[in-house]
Symmetry: C2
Subunit: 454 residues, 2 copies
């Protein structure tokens, strides 16, 4: 890296701090539609100030999408994706500082949404500004799309890509997420699991009753508990008939990538972070890695009756649960929803209302394809070592299905985000490490330059 | 009833309205220890103003007990029991008026705690004042004990009766509760079920996690659901080994009383009130009545993860449930607690912390005994028809065990409370009917006079 770029990197790393502080102040909680227009406006202005032509795209029912285009000197067009929304900050009592005020402590910057994924947006902005400052124009064209409902399942991304597919076409796409691992390898993620998110609601009687009637009145809480319990056996295997029908096994290259990722130290750190002795079903080593190819059924929320301090002897009229199913190739969310409803009906729980709050299909970019191989080369050149290739990420990027079908661009996520394994996405005290900021910006600079080189 | 008493009854029924309004303004929620000293002070002053010698009794950890003594002209001493605490007002959104402001609508007075059991205290006060106004002194001595934690299980009533057993000794005791049924019969309740109230808490990982980790991290929500599901089979039978060991069948007189109580109209009203077609396990007729002799396991509260609007993809670190077991003769709460804990351990849920929040034994006053027979006679004389005798009430009066062991007085509850089957104790929009007020006061007047006659 030449001296001028090095100096500029230092400069941008400094700017990063004030920009991220400003950005995180926006309480852009998608689940509660908080401050969506304000946040979109701030993001658009930042793009404009970085030289982008911008527009906000309205799609009925969605917070506005922010779109930007930056013309470079070359022909290669890269699409960047980020989201400006964040997860709810609850449970508030577990935060050690105000969730929407970036707080520095022990070498960390702490705030809701900082790792997922406001810091990545700012790191990319800083990289572009750094390159512009030294070289004027970038060697590539950049398209940028930001949405405001990733954390609630990118509900309208399909509609966006149907109406604006051409606008989003590019030679390659970089999704959100990904840092460097603890060995200094760049991380590449080739695919994400799909998801079906549902809410269960039921009402057993017209009003809450005195629990002294429990021998004659049906309880919503009991029915919900029994219905949920019917979904899994003692070993965690999902009992919905046909649930595993379309699950495909990882192919040879994916197995090889997973074997290369096995890291006992990382698994040890994970255990320490969650305070557990062993993982679910005793998974470790390669089994820990490969378990990502197993679909899940997670209870995200559970509520019925009296939940405050002390005693209330009530028979609850209503009960609610939220559940996310993480789906693997080639499961389909609508197919799973149908099977779930059929199962509940067959078990005698037809009165439980199942509402689909989100659905996205699992999408994997082929590991042996040209785009992935090019990205592997760039990552190798930057770090001097093989990248860590993640064939399938445990989480979900809900827009991938829409992008695949309606735009057709292949994409990956890689190390442009100053996050690490313990950043605590979605959890209290979400954070990034100060020491990771400069490398993230430098990596983005390198990446944008290298993509223009071919 | 002579003219003077009749006039006085009208007078007292009028006073009742202002007194109950004042009383219900005290937000005396025991679960949250709200306004306990203020409420006790108001109650004590009202007793003083009615001629009682009073004192507040301190028991470590409990809201103060209020004790009053009124000397009459005869030898017979009656103990009255009431509680000045109420259930929490949640869920607030289901109330049609402010819970602590008595609101009149459609011939009803609506407020938290009005039926359970502030109106009964006021009705008894009004009856005593009415008799005093006409006759000067009452023919009986009255002892009165009021507590402030009935709704959380009368946790310190045992300690109170151990230290103040003699103070509470009387020839007969009237518990709280009970009105007239829809046929105009006075209701008598001879016993109450016992209760074990527990809270379950568990933590599966140190912090909430992104649910994309659900294939390797243990979930508190799932463990709790599975643990709860293990407590009951599909037919609602409790699966805790030994749970039914000490359950005794109702005796012949109790069966006869239950048969006399069977009322298809009442069961129809109950169905309408709760908006259901049939009761649990299709119970009806005598089976509906007799089911009260079955113990229950009720989920009173359930909480884990994200429960607000929309989507949050979180794997919950913690989960909580509250449960009340209604116990029948001769079950014992501590015995059931031990069996519950042993069951959870045997099922692999030793990590679930079980906290006992309340325990009370089932107590039944013998239906063929002298006190009950005397009360039956008084009820019959007042209404001109046989009373409705409830051998066992579905709810719980937690202090009965302590009274039985440490004081030894026999008691019943009867129609001194202007409540009816749909008063909605513990539920939103708890209320009494305006039309029932005068009869409740008159009944108490008659009762106090008749007890002095023998």
């Amino acid at each position: 890296m030449d001296e001028q770029l090095k100096k500029e990197l230092e400069n941008q790393s400094h700017h990063f701090r004030s920009l991220i502080t400003e950005y995180c102040r926006f309480e852009s909680v998608a689940a509660q539609k908080r401050m969506m227009p304000e946040t979109a406006g701030w993001v658009e202005r930042l793009l404009q100030q970085t030289g982008f032509e911008t527009r906000q795209i309205e799609v009925a029912g969605a917070p506005n999408y922010v779109y930007g285009y930056l013309k470079g000197t070359g022909d290669y067009t890269l699409l960047l994706y980020n989201h400006y929304d964040v997860q709810p900050e609850t449970p508030l009592e577990l935060w050690n500082s105000p969730p929407f005020e970036v707080t520095e402590r022990d070498g960390k910057l702490i705030a809701r949404g900082i790792c997922d994924n406001k810091a990545e947006f700012i790191a990319r902005i800083c990289a572009i500004r750094g390159l512009q400052s030294v070289h004027g124009r970038l060697p590539i064209n950049i398209k940028w799309i930001l949405e405001g409902e990733e954390e609630i399942g990118s509900l309208h991304f399909d509609a966006l890509t149907r109406s604006h597919g051409d606008l989003l076409k590019a030679d390659g796409t970089l999704w959100e997420g990904g840092g460097f691992n603890e060995k200094g390898q760049a991380a590449l993620a080739l695919g994400f699991r799909g998801m079906l998110y549902v809410e269960y609601n039921l009402q057993s009687v017209k009003q809450d009753a005195h629990s002294g009637n429990a021998h004659v009145l049906p309880s919503a809480a009991w029915r919900l508990v029994k219905a949920l319990a019917s979904l899994k056996d003692e070993n965690g295997r999902v009992l919905i008939p046909g649930f595993y029908d379309r699950v495909r096994k990882p192919n040879e290259s994916e197995v090889r990538a997973m074997r290369a990722r096995v890291d006992p130290d990382m698994q040890e750190k994970y255990r320490a972070m969650y305070g557990i002795d062993s993982f679910l079903d005793g998974r470790q080593g390669y089994d820990f890695e490969a378990a990502v190819f197993d679909p899940t059924a997670n209870i995200a929320g559970l509520l019925s009756g009296y939940t405050e301090e002390g005693v209330k002897t009530v028979l609850p009229a209503k009960a609610m649960a939220k559940m996310d199913f993480r789906l693997v190739p080639d499961q389909d969310p609508d197919d799973i929803l149908e099977k779930l409803q059929a199962h509940l009906k067959a078990q005698g729980f037809a009165d439980i209302q199942v509402t689909k709050l989100g659905g996205s299909e699992p999408v994997v970019t082929p590991i042996d394809g040209e785009f992935v191989q090019k990205m592997i080369r760039i990552c190798r050149d930057f770090t001097g070592q093989e990248p860590e290739v993640n064939a399938l990420v445990g989480g979900t990027l809900p827009l991938l299905g829409a992008m695949k079908h309606n735009v057709g661009t292949l994409g990956v996520s890689t190390s442009g985000n100053p996050s690490y394994y313990a950043s605590g996405a979605h959890a209290p005290n979400e954070h990034i490490r100060v020491d990771d900021i400069s490398r993230a910006i430098e990596f983005n600079m390198f990446l944008f330059s290298e993509l223009g080189r071919d």
